[in-house]
Amino acid sequence: MAIASEENLAVRLTGVSVRYWVPTEPVSTLKEHVIRRFQGRKLVYRELLALDKLDVELRHGESLGVIGRNGAGKSTLLKVIARVLQPTEGRVWIRGRIAPLINLGAGFHPELTGRENILLNGAILGFSQQEMERRMEGIVEFAELSAFIDAPLRTYSSGMVVRLGFAVASNVNPDILIIDEVLGVGDEAFQKKCHTRMEMFRRQGASILFVSHSMNKIRETCDRAVWIEDGRAAASGTPDEAIQAYLSHLSKVQAAPG
């Protein structure tokens, strides 16, 4: 289905809206629903527009920074791209394998060993057992966990878990890497290693979607940036342009009375 212009694209969102329907009263049981049906009372839902006809493009090998206030729709955007949420409207087009670093170690189980968790995590990312066995050595080495890899995860420190999570996600050669504010964890040496790894990805042609509240990191890491406000792309362009627009908006909001 690829159109010619899609050739060097990794992600394209066209007119994507995500609508949550929030009930105005907390009714969560079947019993209450049945009683309401008999009484003829209807549940009223309030509409919450998390993304509003958003257009975003991410080219191959590009890293795109996403900035904006809490609740502006950044996380929803990442979830739509990660295929976790289906858009209410609009079209999501993605080429390639996605590895989210939204929460490193999602799907890790404390009772399983590091090795077993690598296999499970790889399967969650859509890889077969054999593909993960092949990558095992590289992952263990990168995470610097050779001595502990057969111990249950509950004996790991939180830093070790993060290292394992990054090692898995970055060793499966994702075409698109989604990063949500996680590079601030771990010691400095490991952070440097992560940055080197990300640079290597980019040279190999992978695309990166990077959400952060740190404007410095966005400037350092990204080729382009988009500022999301109220579910819309309020500004996009070079990181400096987007950051400037965002910051001047922030100072206006803070200066305004009330």
């Binding site: 019993k31 976790v84 080429r95 999602a106 799907g107 990312l125």
Partner: protein
């Protein structure tokens, strides 16, 4: 260094392509069969790893339970039924595949939401893993059952080769039912309570502790429409009596299992787009 060069070709996902969820989610489930297997392993490892006997416990545990049950029930109930101890145990084992599988399935979408709220995986995989792990537990328990059956004086028969069929039918039926309740549990907080009351009532309505012959009409006839009784019955006949079930009874049981699966899959795939919003 990461392995390169042998990565699979990039796949294109386009939400603009119209898909039939009923079909599409099935192909997705096949694509993620490695995850299905890993989830089953996770369940089995977590359950047995910390115990001294490890996986052996999976066989010893049902054996001990069976011996207790035989001692208790054969002294309380005196039914006029051929080989009551094995009649009871075989019924319980098949029932437990259903009850344990669905009890784990009903929680599966809520327990694993932390995974599918962060990364796409076909949600049916969690329900299938619940039933899959109950199925493997039953296979473990099958060995002590066969040993006890021999000890009660039953002679091994060719009909025992038929035993996997009712087990598979029970698993298929449990999967269908598990798909329904797991999806509903995402939307309604009290499904779990309703399920617990319901499964208890269903247990006593099904001739497991007692033979179907003690039922009076119309109850005896109604049991012909009880799927779980049909599966248990076509498990008992080859095991205890050394005969295959009538073709008609097998056909009805197979239709019940497949019908439940198709209905469950239809409901599940219609609702699955909303799980990440609701769970």
């Amino acid at each position: 260094m990461p392995v390169s060069g042998n990565a699979p070709p990039p796949t294109v996902y386009d939400s603009g392509i119209r898909r039939i969820p009923f079909v599409f989610e099935f192909t997705e489930l096949l694509r993620y069969r490695s995850l299905l297997w890993n989830l089953i392993l996770r369940d089995l490892k977590v359950r047995y790893k910390r115990s001294f006997l490890g996986f052996l416990w999976a066989m010893v545990n049902p054996l001990l339970t069976m011996i207790v049950l035989i001692l208790v029930f054969t002294n309380i109930f005196r039914f006029d039924v051929n080989n009551y101890p094995i009649h009871l145990l075989s019924g319980l084992l098949v029932w437990q595949l259903f009850s344990r599988g669905t009890a784990s399935a009903i929680r599966s979408l809520l327990d694993n939401s932390y995974i599918y709220k962060q990364i796409y995986v076909p949600p049916g995989v969690f329900v299938a893993a619940s039933i899959g792990s109950a199925l493997i537990n039953l296979v473990f328990a099958l060995f002590p059952l066969l040993v006890l059956t021999l000890l009660t004086g039953v002679i091994p028969h060719w009909s025992w080769l038929f035993l996997p069929v009712p087990i598979l039918l029970t698993a298929i039926f449990s999967l269908g039912f598990g798909l329904v309740i797991s999806a509903l549990a995402v939307f309604f907080a009290d499904i779990q309570d309703i399920y617990e009351v319901g499964i208890n009532a269903y247990f006593y309505m099904t001739p497991i502790l007692y033979p179907v012959t003690i039922l009076q009409e119309p109850l005896a006839t109604l049991e012909g429409f009880n799927p779980m009784f049909q599966f248990i019955d076509i498990f008992r006949k080859p095991l205890i009596d050394g005969v295959l079930p009538p073709a008609g009874q097998f056909g009805v049981a197979a239709l019940m299992a497949l019908g439940m699966l198709l209905a469950g899959w239809y409901l599940f795939t219609r609702l699955s787009g909303q799980f990440a919003y609701r769970a």
